[in-house]
């Protein structure tokens, strides 16, 4: 592949992505300016852009961003460690899997955010209420996808391991875990989405701090450009985590 083609391969999708976003923003701006979209409901993208500096300076964005980021980091580390461990346990103990898998699946679709008063009682109005809410919401997809990943390991790969006289521990570490990794990562990404939604949602609900609380404050002040600018910072937290998980996956499975 030539250098030009390589550049084209890397740069072109990025340009198309940013270009599409710019076109959408320009279209929204135009629709608001010609009064097709109500400007009192949706602020103009140019106003949102202008609100960034004000929000960063006046609303302590770095501290809020760090708090939300920290909560998301702790919760996502917890869902990864605990979720994969429970997934492995349920995979290995057939009876336990048959007994619990449906419950875990039901938990994945349950609106756990409504349990926040219970968590407030247990952990008080603290960062841990928010982290635990994020943890509970993000855990089921990691467990389910870990089970799916291990169950989906191709029989022939296990047979290859057996033909080389691998111990069951070696079989698990050298073959089953790497084979299951892509599916486990799908679970971790799904878990991250649920975790982040719940973290920002509970920050919003219990008015504790972080970007969720800021969105609530700005919305109550009817500062719509500021609200949307704050939402952009939540998206930035999400982007940080997705880039990080992508890097980790690429490091663990460079061929994918």
């Amino acid at each position: 592949m030539t250098l030009a083609a390589l550049r084209k391969g890397q740069v072109f999708p990025l340009v198309v992505g940013i270009g599409t976003l710019v076109i959408i923003f320009v279209a929204i701006e135009a629709l608001i300016r010609i009064n097709v979209i109500n400007r009192y409901i949706v602020p103009m993208p140019s106003q949102i852009l202008g609100a960034f500096e004000r929000v960063i300076v006046e609303e302590e964005i770095p501290a809020r961003f760090w708090l939300t980021f920290k909560e998301a980091l702790i919760a996502s580390t917890m869902i990864t460690i605990v979720g994969i461990s429970i997934g492995v346990l349920l995979f290995r103990v057939n009876l336990l899997r048959r007994a619990c898998e449906t419950w875990v699946a039901a938990m994945a679709s349950a609106p756990t955010v409504l349990m926040y008063p219970l968590f407030l009682v247990i952990f008080g109005r603290s960062m841990w209420t928010i982290i635990m809410m994020g943890f509970v919401a993000g855990l089921p997809p990691v467990i389910l996808k870990t089970i799916e990943g291990f169950l989906g390991t191709r029989r022939v790969l296990i047979n290859v391991g057996k033909s080389f006289n691998l111990t069951s521990r070696q079989l698990f570490i050298k073959i089953m875990f790497p084979a299951a990794l892509p599916t486990i990562f799908v679970g971790v990404r799904l878990g991250l989405i649920f975790t982040l939604i719940n973290i920002v949602g509970v920050e919003f609900l219990i008015n504790f701090g972080g970007l969720g609380q800021l969105i609530n404050d700005l919305a109550e002040r009817y500062d719509l450009p500021g609200t949307y600018a704050a939402i952009c910072f939540v998206i930035l937290v999400s982007v940080c985590f997705f880039v990080f998980t992508e890097r980790v996956e690429k490091w663990l499975r460079p061929a994918d």
Partner: protein, 293 residues
């Protein structure tokens, strides 16, 4: 000329079998395997006995459903609950045996490992130091003709190249017996013939004892010294065909007159079995259709 040996005298047969077994590296003795199915007990392999001498290339051929893969799994130690005995160098096989290297029908490279890391896998398991195992793995990568592809991942290779990686990985474990279950089944005919050449060349170089399980007559005649023809369900040994084609061989031999005769001879044995298998499948589908309607 085609030479087909089918013993008739049981006493002679037993005496000759005992003599052969003494010098054989692999002895498969009176294997019977039943499976429980919803339709009742199915006998997949029925009193199969044969042996393989060191350096010999033996092919086992039979129609689909004759228990070839069951036999492969039993010899490889992946399947238990059978009657009879499999032994390697006099030692009974009770599970995967280090002297037996297996190559599977399905694509079996590890997609998360490069070619060199795939081939070095059994050496890594054996605890060989990294530098040493990579050097040895490079030798086997070269042996299967994949030099230059060491750092590629399986997803970047063709189906034939991936099967060569599997072959190199198994050879790297230096098995006394190479056990192959339709290793080229998923490949096109040209690639299959060329890979056959590669296997012949490696077998020649390493004097590797090989047991090839296949349903492809051309492949079996191209590669084997001796072909065991199996019957359709239950899988029994129907006939042994000695392939007296000259060695070293290559895929060019497929155009020879003798090759054609061997293929015709084996097909005449297999045809009846394959027809039985086809009728059996059709009958099953018919009954399933009646059941559903």
């Amino acid at each position: 000329m085609v030479s087909v040996s089918a013993s008739t005298n049981h006493a002679d047969e037993n005496a000759s079998r005992a003599a052969k077994s003494a010098e054989a590296i692999l002895v498969v003795n009176d294997i019977v395997k039943h499976f429980e199915t919803p339709d009742g007990v199915l006998t997949a392999v029925d009193h199969v006995t044969f042996d393989v001498k060191p350096g010999e290339f033996v092919g086992v051929i039979g129609p689909s459903g004759c228990g070839k893969s069951t036999l492969f799994n039993i010899i490889g130690g992946l399947l238990d609950g059978y009657e009879g005995r499999v032994s390697v160098g006099g030692e009974t096989v009770t599970g995967p045996h280090p002297a037996i290297g297996m190559i599977f029908q399905e694509e079996s490279t590890f997609p998360w490992r490069t070619v060199i890391d795939n081939v070095a896998f059994p050496l890594e398991i054996a605890g060989m130091p990294k530098a040493q195992r990579l050097e040895k793995a490079r030798h086997f990568v070269a042996l299967v003709g994949l030099s230059g592809f060491e750092n590629r991942y399986p997803s970047e290779l063709s189906g034939g190249m991936r099967q060569r990686v599997s072959l190199a990985r198994t050879l790297a474990s230096e098995p006394k017996i190479l056990l192959m279950d339709e290793p080229f089944a998923s490949l096109d005919e040209q690639t299959r013939l060329l890979l056959g050449d590669k296997v012949l060349q490696i077998q020649q170089e390493l004097k590797q004892t090989t047991l090839l399980i296949t349903h492809n007559i051309t492949e079996a005649v191209q590669l084997a010294d001796r072909i065991l023809v199996m019957t359709y369900r239950p899988g029994r040994l129907k006939r042994t065909v000695e392939i007296k084609l000259p060695r070293p061989r290559s895929s060019e031999i497929v155009s020879s007159e003798d090759f054609g005769r061997y293929v015709a001879q084996i097909w005449s044995d297999l045809r009846e079995e394959a027809s039985r298998g086809m009728k059996d499948d059709e009958s099953h589908l018919l009954h399933a259709g009646e059941y559903h309607s």
